[in-house]
Point group: C2
Chain length 287, copies 2
């Protein structure tokens, strides 16, 4: 079991790992993609220390190399589920499961959105981001699951225990496995309905009658983890106390996900600060 | 008159300048030496973004280049005095005087110390760091001024209006000007006294009878500025509110000088945060 497991390979997670490592705690860093920073198109000019603007992807790669240079253990695996039982955290990736005494969520704020009509309108009105949270309400309805990765399969495994009337929408991606459900590979072009979701339209003009759509695209962001495990979220931000701890003891969150300035300097600062709080938490726990 | 004048070319000052510049305020950055970071012997491993440890001097030079790249005005001059009158700040360097509506002190915490016996013992008991503050109390005493730079000359000009019984100790450095006072060029080896300072011993074995010694070595650090202008200092840190403002309206302080973690990540964070506070202050002022 690890003392600290950090989810996210961006500035916040790496900074926390560096400060922990240098203070004698061996963290495990897990993450797959590089988050929003990788997608950020413009070079970064406002993070101190670089004479020329630096591309966000380069900066993130620098950070990972820096952690490796310090001997920090990194698993490039997509975290798909976080659960807690008896003060132990179970962090599931596409490949493995890891146990930890504390978890730091530093997985950023994924801008998960379909730029198709109806998506924003039906969020929370038929469109859900958490099978564990909302699956039960749709157990006698026609449901869709959107995605194609390990994360989708994990959510599907849960949903299929409740409901067999499932359609899988890969939204143009390919699926490397077969399932005993209808699989739609066309891109989604519209979410239909009046007060709530009633259907999904695809690029071939087909309309599918759907009551509930579960979005499980790529890998989950912190807000999806928050929903899985019951973290309090307000206005799209994970709520933490002054010590970066969420309402679940031992579960911390830093960086963009807790709001404030969505800046590298702030994420790095959070990482530095949370290291002290984690150390104090572990010390009290081990008493 | 500048809207914002920043004293200090380290991480805090440069970060503040970058955020101000990018939000439409043109700051003037002034500083001479690179502060403690330049003296820091080990490469830095814990500031996010660098795959290999980076030498502190390189990092500071990177920061200056970064500011220049963004078109920020930098004067490499030693600030020797800061005064305020009618809400205007007068910042004096060895070469010039600059006027500003707001000043950010980001000049770091200079580790100004003589590693000679008696120095710590007589700090505040005969050893002073501020001619303007303490000169008056020693106007009928035998005083020493220690230093050789423009800063020493500035302090000397003040002291010589009050007192003519002055000895200049260059502490091994050379002086490029003559003064109508006794000049001692030997190194100081001991501060003498019982309850308070009564003398200074030099490397040639000489003992000089001295009641008050004014330290004006190199250029002043933030604590010396604080004393000049009347900023509240507690436990060696400049006291600021949540908006980084000192007890003097329009005078802000960030980085090591305000305490907390003496870390680059914290200094950079302070710089980012104070930019907002300065903008708000200027907006209210210009109403």
């Amino acid at each position: 079991m690890k003392d600290v497991l950090i989810v996210g390979l961006g500035p916040a997670g790496i900074s926390a790992a560096i400060y922990l490592k240098r203070s004698g705690v061996d963290p495990l860093l897990i993450g797959k993609d590089l988050g929003n920073l990788e997608l950020f198109p413009l070079p970064i000019e406002n993070y101190y220390g670089f004479p020329e603007p630096i591309h966000s992807k380069t900066l993130v790669q620098n950070g990972i190399a820096q952690a490796q240079h310090l001997g920090i253990e990194i698993k490039k695996e997509a975290v798909i589920e976080i659960a807690e039982k008896d003060s132990i955290f179970y962090v599931k990736t596409a490949q493995n499961e890891y146990l930890a005494k504390t978890v730091i969520l530093a997985s950023g704020k994924k801008l998960k959105s379909f730029s198709v009509p109806g998506f924003n309108k039906f969020k929370g009105k038929g469109i859900s981001f958490c099978a564990t949270c909302d699956g039960f309400f749709y157990r006698r309805k026609k449901i869709a699951i959107i995605g194609h990765s390990a994360y989708m399969k994990n959510e599907l495994a849960y949903l299929s225990q409740l409901n067999q009337d499932i359609t899988i929408f890969t939204n143009g991606e390919t699926l490397d496995e077969t399932f005993p459900f209808l699989i739609v590979k066309e891109k989604i072009t519209k979410f239909l309905g009046d007060q709530k979701l009633t259907g999904i339209k695809t690029s071939d003009g087909q309309i599918y009658s759907i009551d509930g759509a579960f979005v499980a695209v790529d890998s989950p962001g912190s807000l999806e983890f928050a929903q899985q495990i019951g973290i309090i979220v307000e206005k799209g931000n994970v709520v933490v106390d002054k010590k970066y701890q969420t309402n679940i003891p031992g579960l911390f969150a830093i960086g963009d996900i807790i709001g404030g300035k969505l800046q590298i300097a702030k994420a790095v600062y959070d990482g530095m600060m949370v290291a002290d709080d984690i150390k104090r938490y572990l010390k009290n726990k081990n008493k």
